[in-house]
């Protein structure tokens, strides 16, 4: 079945790109917000398929990347303690702090475990009542409901030996920081599909209106990204700036209401520091005071550790769409996924790590063939064409 889809998809992609060429009258710079989208774009070569003058820059939506080094050092300080079982999503394990990573700590005898779901920590805590189980609760809005459930169930089930080290960030304040910068280049956004599956997208309306930028909530497959790019271009060329939803087969305007309810019950909004960017007002979550017993920062006396990022690293400009990875003199030489210097190299979803993984070391390479690019998707987009939406 997949072979047929691949064949049809090539046609869909060509129609979408052809339509971009037909309507485009000038250069535009668009930003895909989410690291998953960045990975998809770089892996499939979508950026090279777009018409000349339609540029995709890569946004800050990689939670592993933007988790500040101080927080990583704090996690490591807790993980090194002898009575602690430190639990994390797998992609945090390789992120280096000032002194090694979680793998190093594990190899030195620390009890560091990868969990699939935050609520796995409840089982681990019940099985190990003499240990403190600490979960590294990072993420954007997509992950907040899962992390909120861990805090909520720990309190409800009175599992007293489980806590969360929370480093949660929010997308809309970061978009405002990007748009407010004097050197901003971004003229339209491909919005983060799964963040909006949880939160809905009405909170993007004021941003779109205030800064007059189109925001098109977009999925993650190559065809989704092409389609979201076309929808954004259509708005720009028509002089419109509204929030639209390319990913309507998965989400609606209101998002997931039960998830939002628990997130708001457990977390409150605070200022957060973003690696590479700095502190952004009201841009993240912490646990509410009533969850103090689940708050690892309150339970473990871990002093603030001052950390310095290498001066050569330009990840802050990359996260804001001002520069690309190969603009950096350290990219692929001093800075690699094995020895990352900064935010955008520490996770596979970071722009630098994606460029490195897919051979974008020096300059843009030729795109893969169209059929390869779109091998991953098909289906509903046929309907969009049939309905005259493209």
């Amino acid at each position: 079945m997949k072979y047929l889809d691949e064949y049809r998809d090539g046609d869909v992609a060509q129609k979408i790109v052809g339509e971009m060429r037909r309507i485009q009258t000038r250069p535009w710079v668009l930003m895909e917000v989410c690291g998953g989208q960045t990975h998809s774009i770089v892996k499939s070569g979508i950026d090279h398929l777009l018409p000349e003058g339609v540029e995709l820059v890569h946004g800050p939506g990689c939670p592993v990347c933007v988790t500040p080094l101080e927080m990583i050092d704090k996690a490591h300080a807790i993980a090194r303690q002898p009575n602690v079982i430190f639990c994390s999503f797998g992609d945090m394990l390789r992120v280096p702090g000032s002194d090694g990573d979680l793998f190093t700590i594990k190899s030195l005898g620390g009890d560091v475990r990868v969990v699939y779901s935050p609520i796995d920590c409840l089982k681990i805590a019940r099985a190990n009542p003499a240990k403190q189980v600490v979960f590294f609760a990072i993420g954007f809005e997509t992950t907040a409901p899962a992390n909120a459930m861990l805090a909520w169930r720990a309190r409800e089930e009175q599992v007293s030996n489980v806590s969360l080290l929370v480093s949660h960030v929010l997308v809309p304040p970061a978009l405002e920081v990007i748009l407010q910068a004097p050197d901003n280049r971004v003229q339209g956004f491909l919005g983060p599909g799964h963040v909006c599956a949880v939160m809905g997208y009405s909170e993007y309306d004021p941003i779109s209106a205030r800064y007059q930028v189109p925001i098109v909530v977009t999925g993650f497959e190559p065809i989704d990204i092409l389609h979201g790019t076309l929808m954004t271009l259509q708005q720009l060329e028509e002089g419109r700036a509204v929030v639209e939803n390319q990913y309507s087969r998965v989400l609606g305007r209101e998002g997931n209401l039960p998830a939002q309810k628990l997130v708001n019950r457990v977390f409150e909004v605070i200022d957060r520091k973003w690696r590479g960017i700095g502190t952004i007002p009201m841009s993240g979550f912490r646990l509410r005071d009533e969850f103090a017993q689940q708050d690892a920062e309150k339970l473990f006396d871990v002093a603030e550790i001052a950390t310095l990022e290498p001066e050569i690293c330009i990840s802050g400009q990359i996260l804001r769409g001002i520069k690309k990875p190969h603009d950096c003199p350290a990219f692929g030489t001093l800075c690699t996924p094995q020895r990352p210097l900064g935010a955008t190299m520490v996770s596979a979803e970071g722009a630098c790590a994606a460029y490195y993984a897919y051979g974008r070391h020096l300059k843009p390479q030729a795109a893969e063939t169209l059929s390869q690019i779109v091998a991953a998707s098909s289906g509903s987009h046929q309907g969009a064409i049939a309905n005259g939406q493209l």
């Binding site: 998953g36 939506g61 190990n128 993420g139 997509t142 799964h194 997931n256 998830a259 289906g379």
Partner: protein, 93 residues
Amino acid sequence: MCLAIPGKVVDTFDQRGMRMAKVQFGGIVREACLEYVPETQIGEYVLVHVGFAISRIDEAEAERTYQALRDLDQLTELESPVVEEVEPGGYRQ
């Protein structure tokens, strides 16, 4: 990180008051929490992020997205260790 993987709900059960499901992703079956899509029934398809169903989708969409994620090498989180409920002092993960 904000990845969500589509799967088919093949069973539902109660875990200490939480509505849970067994969800099939290709050849792998994992547990997922249904608290955020409580109306989901056996046989339906959901998008699962870090063990939580966050959205219901139709079968064709699920099939297509799963293939796409596989082609993009984005299914590795399904290989994370399974944590079984054990008594204190029992065999650990």
